[in-house]
Every structure is written in structure tokens, then in C-alpha cells.
Symmetry: C2
Subunit: 299 residues, 2 copies
């Protein structure tokens, strides 16, 4: 099944203990689509400013991503400046220049409205709701969110949760949303708000999937190579959703297999700066790492 | 194989968001032995003061623990007063009264020196070394440690690492010992110091086992019931070491199986206050939970 992703396309300035990047290709929709393309056809809807280098769009296209829905408008591209220190478990945001993404109100091209699978990368839940409403009859809709919306647009977020099938959220945000310290309780509480699946992302500690009565925690793929965590969460979602879209309800490993693919896909992202970890490999590398990962659990 | 544990026997005062206990049976050797007894015969060497209730010793004995090595001496029993708040990921120590444990310098009864398997619960690495030196020809020696010794008795700790087969250490302590933020790098660095296995404990995020080139991360057993994390780490080690002692090198699931048993055993501890989570179940409950845990990984 083809997969549509609606979200940010950005220019990133990132500092980690291992280096610095400036004006590098970034954004949620970019990391998501570069991860999902290993598994299925993926199209991006997003917005860029006049300052966005044409070669970035060409690069995405060369990687197999359908960039037909990336609109160039007057103004500046969304820029994120962030830093990772210490154990790099979370980014310190130094500066956010929303630019044209601040007015992001996508009108989906007609063809995209027919897509069976949709990922709403992190943006205002009102924007996410407006996108869902343009879809004809999607079979699986997932969304990511962040602390800002939990605090400032809680009602819209709760409304969104009734309209989607799966929420991706990190552990601190899940605790904030449910005001509970037990993550298992948080996941189950979010399920009761509407989605049939919830994935709580825990960075280096892996992720927990909740669906029905099932609770599936998986650790991160153990790696010595952690250079830049930027985009790990979106790559995780990309691997998860790409695999899900590719198999429909036919996965031999069930939903856990999608979680495992998300996990190993994200492990490639963190090993290099920017998108390089995803763009210098192919599906074979992902599958080899999945095999190694699954062997760990023969306990 | 019979298993010897040398460590603290204590009286605990614990406060968590779910309740308070006063003068309850505690100590590393207590949690360890109550967890290990599901798998093998376990003997404790420790010290208590005149104030230690005789019924606690009788209780341990009734649970199948050999208490012959617990010596009662003049003075007060080791008392720990601690509190867990928020996500209960780490204890705030309010008060430590070392009492007779401050002078703990065990002379092992002759019979115990023949034991093939030894666990050195957390105490000064000098004390731990003195115990190792009394053993005749142990086949597997493991030790736990803490930040205090990493900071104040580093040389003795490094010496200990050359004399043991397995180190249990939590994630913050591993980072402190190796001055590295990447936990995988920390585990591998500790291996190079001597032990053939290292287990990094991450509380609610599970644990990572390092042995040879193998790196096995496992998540915690997902549970809604977290009432009191006291003793979770020692119960984890007890399950791991008890199972290891019971199978020798014959485990069908390899070292990962020991890690899995440690994980599920600890999940019982945190579900109740004090030692109740361990003393109100039997091996059948542990095995049932192990089965449920292993099913998670059919991804």
C-alpha cells in the first residue's frame, strides 16, 4: 500500500559531541520518508521557502521519495537549531524559525486523498485534523505529537486521538499527557482515548507498543555508533509505518515485526550525521540488522 | 550448584507514592536469596545486630534460605531509610545507619568456602576481595557495586574486576566508571577490565548483558504494578545467578535465559512492598511469567 506523509521539511543546524552540521536537509517528513522508502512507495506533502536548495529536493527524489507534494512558497524554510550533550538522550532546542511552516495548512492534491495509509508527522493537532478530514477512506492513520501541543492544544489533540489508528509519542510526553508516572498505565490510558495502537518511544531504551491487551516492549538495537540522534523518532515511525503499509495485516511477526523494523531503521539514522545513515544503505542492510536483532531474543 | 551470597541483611524504612514501611526485612543479601531460592539452594553470609527480630531470620529459613551464615553480634542492624518519588526510577536515600554492617569483615565458615558459585552483594570492594580470597575454587563469581565505591575505592574495585566472572552495575554507575555516555561502549570497556560478563541494569528500561562479542539488551517485564522498587536490582541478580547456578553451562536459552529470568523475577519484587512480591509466589509463577515474557519477542 502506498504511504502518504504530511509534515515538516527543514534545514537543520545540529551540534553533538561528535560534530556540527549547518543548513543540512532535515524535518520530520524527510526522515520519515527516507526510512519508509525501504518498504513501500512514499509521498511527502510539505512546504519549503525560497531559500531551500533545489538539490535537496532532487536528492529526495533520487532516493525514491515522491516529492510532488512539497510546495515551494515565498518566505523562509523552517529552520531548527539544536544541540545534544552528555548521553544525547534529548535535544536542547537553541532556536526555531518556523518560517513558511508556521502557516502550513496543506491542501492535499486529489490523488493523495485516495491513499490508504497516512502518517501525520509532528505539527499542530489542528493542522493534523484538517489533513485527516481531506482523506477519502484511509485504512490506517498514524500521528506523532509533542509536548507543545499537549500543553497548548490539548483539546484538539484529544479530538485527533479519536480520528487516528496509531499514536507515536515519546515517554516524557506520554507521562505529561496522562499525568501518570507508570508508562504501561500511560499507554493503556492513551488507547482508551481512541487509537487502536500506541507506540511510546524511549530513545536509547527502545519503545513499547500497546494494542488491544498486548504490551510489547523492545529495546533499542545496541550500537556503539551514536553520532546524531536527530530524526531517530521519525525514522522509527518511518520503518514502522513503511513495513505496516507494505504488508497490510499479513505480517508473519504481527505488529511486533513493525516495531522491530522501526527499531532497526532508527539505529541506522543515529549512527551518522543528518540523513546520511539512511541514504547510504538499502533494504538488504535493514533486513540483515533485523535478523541480528531478532536473534538477540532467542532467550 | 549451590549458591553463596555475601551481603547486607537490613531493616528498611521505605516511602513510595503508594505507602510506607518501617523496620521491614531488607538488605541486598535478603532480596538476592529470596529471588535465587526459586532456582537453587542458596546460603547467606551476613551480619545483624541485637535489634534484629528473630522472626525475620525464621521467616527467611521458612522460605528455604540457608541462614546459617548470618551472624548476630553486639550493636545495631544496618538500617536504610529511603524514598521513591515521581517515576520511582531511583531512590532518594534519607538516612543510612551502617551499624554492625560498617565493620562487616566476614570469615566464611569452612563449608561455604567450597561453594562453586558466589554472589558478592554490594559492599566495599575491599570486603568483597577479602571474601573472594577465602573461596577454594569457585567456578562463577559475580559482584554488585555502587557509585560510592567507584568514587572512593576505585583501585580496589578495579582489582576486584580482575577476580570476578560477572559484574552487575546500574547504568549511571557504568557511565561513571567508564566516563563514557554510550552504555554499549561502557559495557565493553568493563569487559576489558576482567570479567567475562557484565550486566548493566536500567530499572524500568530493562538490562543489557555483555559477554564476549554478544550484547543482549532486554526490556523490563511490562507491568502496571510498581509499588516499591526496593530490592529490584538484587532480585534481578538473584534470578540471574540462581538460574545460572541451577543449569551450569547447560541453559537452552544461553546466557540470555538467565537475563530473562532475572528480569521476570525482579518484576515480582516491584509489584509489592518489601519482600512480599517474592515470598508470596513460587517457581510456577516465575515460569509462567517467563513464558509470557518470551512470547513478546516472537517478532
Amino acid at each position: 500500500m502506498a504511504l502518504l506523509c504530511v509534515g515538516s521539511v527543514a534545514l537543520d543546524n545540529v551540534t553533538t559531541p561528535f560534530g556540527v552540521t549547518e543548513d543540512s536537509l532535515g524535518g520530520s517528513a524527510v526522515y520519515f520518508s527516507l526510512a519508509a522508502r525501504f518498504f513501500t512507495d512514499v509521498s511527502v506533502v510539505g512546504v519549503i521557502g525560497e531559500d531551500f536548495p533545489a538539490e535537496h529536493v532532487a536528492f529526495l527524489r533520487d532516493q525514491g521519495v515522491d516529492t510532488g507534494g512539497i510546495e515551494a512558497v515565498e518566505g523562509k524554510t523552517f529552520r531548527w537549531t539544536g544541540e545534544y550533550t552528555g548521553d544525547m538522550s534529548s535535544a536542547l532546542t537553541r532556536e526555531v524559525e518556523l518560517g513558511v511552516f508556521g502557516e502550513f495548512a496543506p491542501t492535499l492534491p486529489e490523488a493523495y486523498r485516495e491513499f490508504p495509509t497516512l502518517f501525520l508527522a509532528n505539527s499542530s493537532p489542528r493542522t493534523q485534523l484538517a489533513v485527516v478530514e481531506q482523506m477519502k477512506a484511509p485504512r490506517f492513520v498514524a500521528a506523532d505529537t509533542m509536548n507543545l501541543w499537549i500543553e497548548n492544544e490539548r483539546d484538539a489533540l484529544l479530538e485527533l486521538l479519536k480520528r487516528i489508528d496509531c499514536l507515536f509519542i515519546n515517554d516524557g510526553e506520554a507521562r505529561m499527557l496522562e499525568d501518570d508516572t507508570n508508562l504501561i498505565a500511560c499507554g493503556k490510558a492513551i488507547l482508551r482515548r481512541g487509537p487502536s495502537s500506541v507506540v511510546i518511544k524511549k530513545g536509547e531504551h527502545g519503545a513499547i507498543l500497546f494494542t488491544g491487551d498486548q504490551v510489547i516492549p523492545l529495546p533499542a538495537f545496541p550500537t556503539l555508533e551514536v553520532k546524531d540522534p536527530t530524526g531517530a523518532g521519525d525514522s522509527f515511525a518511518g520503518g514502522f509505518m513503511g513495513y505496516t503499509a507494505s504488508v497490510g495485516s499479513e505480517s508473519s511477526g504481527g505488529v511486533g515485526r513493525a516495531l522491530a523494523y522501526g527499531t532497526v531503521t532508527a539505529s541506522f539514522t543515529v549512527g551518522r550525521f543528518g540523513v546520511a545513515g539512511l541514504t547510504e544503505i538499502d533494504r538488504t542492510h535493514v533486513d540483515q540488522r533485523l535478523d541480528a536483532y531478532r536473534k538477540i531474543f532467542a532467550v
